[in-house]
Symmetry: C2
Subunit: 121 residues, 2 copies
DNA sequence: TCTTTATTTAACCATAAGGTTATTTAACTG
DNA sequence: CAGTTAAATAACCTTATGGTTAAATAAAGA
């Protein structure tokens, strides 16, 4: 596995079970047993998933009696979002260029229609 | 590996070599040999990385003589961005609550300063 | 203190990931 | 056609991942 924080985060997010756990945690802090319920999986498996999420800095854990409640880390998605930001620009530009191209195309077609005085479809 | 598109994309992004390839492709379409240059890695390794990126729908490939130029797929990051969107809301709310809390705290401190008439630091 | 509840750790297994070298395929070039 | 360039495939190796069962740990409760 890669050791840089961004790789670790993407790797953690690459598993549907872990994303489902995050989705549950988005509703609020909860226990491991509670988190495990929706899954057809043993507790140690869930425990490992939580360790991966924690290791990636996506969740934090506390203690409440025997329970180890989990919650989403405050700035969990900050760097992932920051990374995406660069590419967001890229595809917005791409979209802008496409948009410009389509407008040019439409202008050309309008011009054509004017010169040919509505001959074809 | 998981087979759903989002997992496949996150997994593809979880490797720094692949992210570097994407960063290079953000500058424009280019050949495999060109893409390979910055890395201390054999061609087959790069070839595999490109296959992963293509399989995730992050890049597309064409043909130009013996070359197989790669470019970033038009809507490469759309679903990843969409997924993040939900959590963006979450942490904006979290931030809003923190902000509200801090404002309340400051208000309380101003009040305190007024009643104690600047006694301590 | 013994038991129960909540969770983790250890040991193991199958499969996937990321790399290698050697070989092939594909297309241009002389 | 023979040779060169660009890239992919095959076969292999090592390590990581995602799961299991069985055992250990931690805290609360009778």
């Amino acid at each position: 596995m890669q050791t840089d924080p961004l790789s670790t985060k993407f790797a953690a997010l690459a598993d549907p079970t872990r994303r489902a756990i995050l989705a549950r945690l988005a509703l609020g802090e909860t226990s491991v047993t509670e988190l495990a319920k929706p899954f057809d999986m043993t507790m140690p498996a869930i425990s490992k998933h939580l360790k991966v999420l924690e290791g990636a800095g996506l969740i934090t854990r506390s203690r409440d009696a025997q329970m180890r409640p989990c919650k989403i880390a405050p700035s969990a998605f900050k760097d992932v979002d920051g990374w995406l930001e660069d590419y967001r620009k890229l595809w917005e530009e791409r979209f802008d260029r496409l948009d410009a191209y389509l407008q040019k195309l439409q202008a050309k077609q309008r011009k054509k229609r004017r010169t040919t005085k509505r001959k074809g479809a």
